[in-house]
Amino acid sequence: MARLVEVMCAPHDPTIPATRHRRATLPEGEMRTLEAFELLQARLDAARPDVIVMVSGDHLNQWFMDDMPQFLIGKAPRARGPFPHERHAFGLDDYDTEIEGALARHLLNKGIEGHFDLSYSNEFTLDHGFVVPLSLLRPEQDTPVVPLFTNVMAPPIPPGRRFHELGHAVRELIEGFDADTRVAVVTSGHMTNNIGGPEMLDFAEQPLTDWDTSTWHRLHHGDIGELVDECTFDHLYSHGHGTPGFLDYVFALGLVGDERPDWSELTSGPTQLPAAFLQWTDRTLNGAAR
């Protein structure tokens, strides 16, 4: 049966990839962000996944309010991105890799047999929510992926409890996949976020809000069930209209059960959004004996 060999959470700020070209002059926080990506890239490589399940929100690029899926499995032959306007605005490189169709269909079919009304699509482009973490964590573009899109931007948005339940279910579905496959899951989201709102640049004065600091502490030492229950759209929205993007980290919490991360880093600074990195290893996910 398939094995969950790695779970990672990483940010997807589209300005991050370009910082690789000005390493010599990067502020400390941005350098730590790059280094965190490099560390996770090496660890993902060492985990030797056969497939990466990539979970992120689309940013009203692929899906719009005319036809908005809450959770969607991409089952096209290939996963490609980003959108031309993202390439133009942020200098993002193209990403193009195979989709692991058998696992995509397994997650879809078995998910629907349970109580998750997953949508599916054969026609989509991955936006920066997928392309940024994939290009920094697996630049070789040689590992098949299964994209799982989540709605974290256009209300109504499912509460954290449902993201957590879906994460839990996806783990069971992965482990029930009848193939000798090593699966890594990468989820991408963020901490406080106000892109497009009046507080968009508040990080220049206050790199981390009280919510960022307390949530980070609770991720490591707090009651996870309480945190998950608290993560409704309205609550997260009250901390920034983009903060519901944290729900994709809540999905990861559903995957890993009660386990705390093996490694984590929260980078911040006056020139960047807070960037949260979390990693759970095979040993922690599966225990030493397995």
């Binding site: 009203l60 309010m65 892109i195 009046p198 983009g242």
Partner: protein, 95 residues
């Protein structure tokens, strides 16, 4: 404000370079097929990000719309954008 209609215009403009060019060269003609009030058309034509966000347009769409028409990302663009929104509260964005 007809949030859906205004959001749709911005989505169509920033995702498609031809639409962005058409909007830039003749905003009235471009907006004619959309179901918009005069005030909504005016806010879009004037790229009035404050009025758009105030009316409940999705801030991320407003940002992408303004970014696309500005021609690219820069700190200067972000500073001017935020300056235009100073003091606003982002309210309900449900469509």
């Amino acid at each position: 404000m007809n949030r859906y209609g205004v959001n749709k215009v911005m989505y169509d403009v920033y995702r498609d370079n031809d639409n962005a060019t058409a909007f830039t060269s003749d905003p009235s003609a471009y907006l004619a097929p959309y179901d918009l009030t005069d005030e909504e058309s005016k806010a879009l034509t004037n790229r009035d990000v404050r009025r758009l966000v105030e009316g409940g347009a999705h801030p991320f769409l407003v940002f992408n719309f303004a970014l696309c028409l500005a021609g690219g990302f820069s700190i200067e663009f972000c500073l001017e954008y935020v300056n235009n929104l100073r003091g606003l509260d982002v309210g309900d964005i449900t469509t």
